[in-house]
Amino acid sequence: MTQLSSTDTDTAAEAGPEPDERREAWAAQLADALGDDFIEHHIIPDSDLWVRVTRESWVDAATAARDQLGCEFFDWLSAIDWLPSPYGRDMDAQEDNPQPKAADPMEQGHAGGQTRFQIVVRLYSTTEHMGLTIKADLPDDDLSVDTLIPVFAGSNWHEREAWEMFGIHFNNHPDLRNIYLPGEFEGNPLRKDFPLLARRVKPWPGIVDVELFPGEEES
């Protein structure tokens, strides 16, 4: 049998500019390609790159990332609901938490945001060994965005999942049906205002496994 293998593993540091410089370059390239539709970017050194674009340029941003940055690997697509949960964190025993606290103000994460729902896609370059996360705000009164299927065929199922879990509509998606939930299921389970019934019908005993040792102070 012929032995086929890749070239020997190169574990030495990669040549070329530092990863963070390349991340800056990626952000600049995307900003060039998208113009005003590129809103913001955020880099955590040695970690990751976040980019926020307008909803209208969602497909353009993914296309630019694929064609100009070489991010040909479609990692995943999902959404984030930034609404603080109206049910609290469902972690405390009922007696610990008699009065529900006032809800925190809504606060978006890296690269900012203005709306409750954000759509997130992660793309990766298998040659540069670096990925980026692209986000876009979705206005509450029109939770819809164009489908990424023409750019990345794999986004089909991920979009179906985001559709049923968050209620985000993907324009021009050929097959927007439930993927996990039964067809007659009502509601969008991953929205923060969708109650987790298991915790509503039976009170959780509370955080029992992180009790302090005697003499230990809470940190």
Partner: protein, 392 residues
């Protein structure tokens, strides 16, 4: 017995050939047929249902239907503390459970800006590779049994046990170790474990050699898997295929080597195996080589195991600072990653679980178009999925 003259016989033969020709010349019009495979078919590893529309023996369209085992882990993780979440995610890919915990812990560590001490990283990596071996050995037997060879699956179950015993000896759990902690590991290795593990690795190498001949060298196996289900690299990448599936299409990419996570892979000498063909045979071949490579990684890790603590200094009550982080590792099935959004609370605000099988299996509607019915089984088996990893 009535005598038949030579003339009559000739005439009868003529009529018979005419009739046979006529039968052949009839345009065979088959009605489309819908074949329902699963949800409880042995080839579906659980409850993946496949609805295939057939034209004769050919698949016109095939569509997997999931959700029979959807457990909503992304929602459940939002009401659990970080240490509690590992209990859940153990059950995503249940054959390589320890490997599921690692990317989640790494993502949480990224947010907390802690790093496990070297010894913990090395043991983590060794256990990670052990779960890979436990997982892939089963695949090596399982694909063979789905192609009709019964023996390999028994051998796989038999030899996987050596690895599971080692995992159990450290973690106390054969399938759900729940052993990884933010900042390190729950415990150190038990006495004598290193020698036992090296012996087990020896046995796994024998197992790989045996399978190389028994399965890969088998003519029937080759006939049924070569050229079946070819995935071109560009298509595979656009569908998010990862792990051995994409390396079998010639893409030289492995997160163990190319990722930047805090694991000890850069401390040992190993290589990434790829195969240019992209067919079912290549996928099996790559996984077999990777299993053997994993045993070498484990051996080297155990030889060079640094001493020191196994836990970094982390608070007993883990509050993760606000932020977002994504960490992904090269799990047995492919890239598994967790995108954690934290609001500085005891519980994560949102956890997106990127599981390998979900993306790997999303290529099936494309891949199964036009194949013959027996090849459905080959392709599904060679893509290798765990249902818990699809449905989460």
């Amino acid at each position: 017995m009535t005598a038949v003259s030579a003339d009559q016989r000739q005439q009868l033969a003529y009529v018979a050939t005419q009739a046979a020709d006529a039968r052949l010349n009839v345009e065979i019009e088959t009605e489309g047929m819908t074949l329902n495979i699963g949800p409880q078919h042995p080839a579906t590893h659980g409850t993946l249902r496949l609805v295939a529309r057939l034209d004769g023996e050919q698949v016109v369209e095939a569509e997997p239907i999931m959700g029979y085992m959807h457990r909503g882990y992304e929602k459940l993780a939002e009401v659990r503390t970080y240490p509690q979440v590992t209990t859940l995610i153990n059950r995503i890919d249940w054959l390589g459970s320890f490997a599921n915990e690692v990317p989640f812990i790494l993502a949480a560590e990224k947010l907390m800006e802690v790093e496990a001490p070297p010894r913990a990283q090395w043991i983590r990596t060794a256990l990670f590779e052990l779960s890979r071996i436990a997982n892939i050995t089963l695949f090596l037997g399982d694909m063979a049994v789905q192609l009709g060879a019964l023996t390999p699956v028994f051998m796989a179950f038999r030899d996987r046990e050596f690895v599971l015993n080692q995992i159990e000896a450290v973690t106390g759990g054969r399938f759900h170790p729940n052993f990884d902690r933010i900042g390190g590991l729950k415990d150190d290795l038990p006495q004598g474990w290193i020698d036992d593990t090296k012996q087990a690795m020896e046995k796994i190498r024998d197992f790989c050699d045996e399978f190389e001949e028994l399965v890969l060298g088998n003519e029937i196996f080759q006939a049924r898997s070569r050229g079946i289900g070819i995935v071109p690299p560009a298509v595979g990448l656009s569908y998010g295929l990862s792990g051995a599936n994409i390396r079998a299409s010639g893409v030289d990419w492995d997160l163990r080597r190319d990722g930047h996570e805090a694991l000890a892979y850069d401390q040992v000498d190993w290589k990434v195996w790829t195969h240019p063909d992209g067919d079912s045979f290549a996928r099996y071949w790559v996984r077999l080589q990777e299993t053997r490579e994993a045993t070498h990684i484990v051996d080297q890790l155990l030889d060079g195991l640094p001493s020191g603590p196994i836990m970094a200094k982390v608070p007993r009550i883990i509050k993760v600072p606000a932020g977002e982080a994504y960490a992904a590792t090269e799990n047995p099935l492919g890239e598994m990653g967790y995108y954690i959004v934290s609001k500085g609370d005891l519980v994560p605000f949102r956890v997106k679980i990127r599981s390998a099988s979900f993306s790997n299996i999303s290529i099936t509607p494309w891949l199964l178009k036009g194949v013959y019915v027996p090849d459905i089984i080959t392709i599904l088996a060679s893509l290798y999925f765990i249902l818990g990893d699809i449905d989460r």
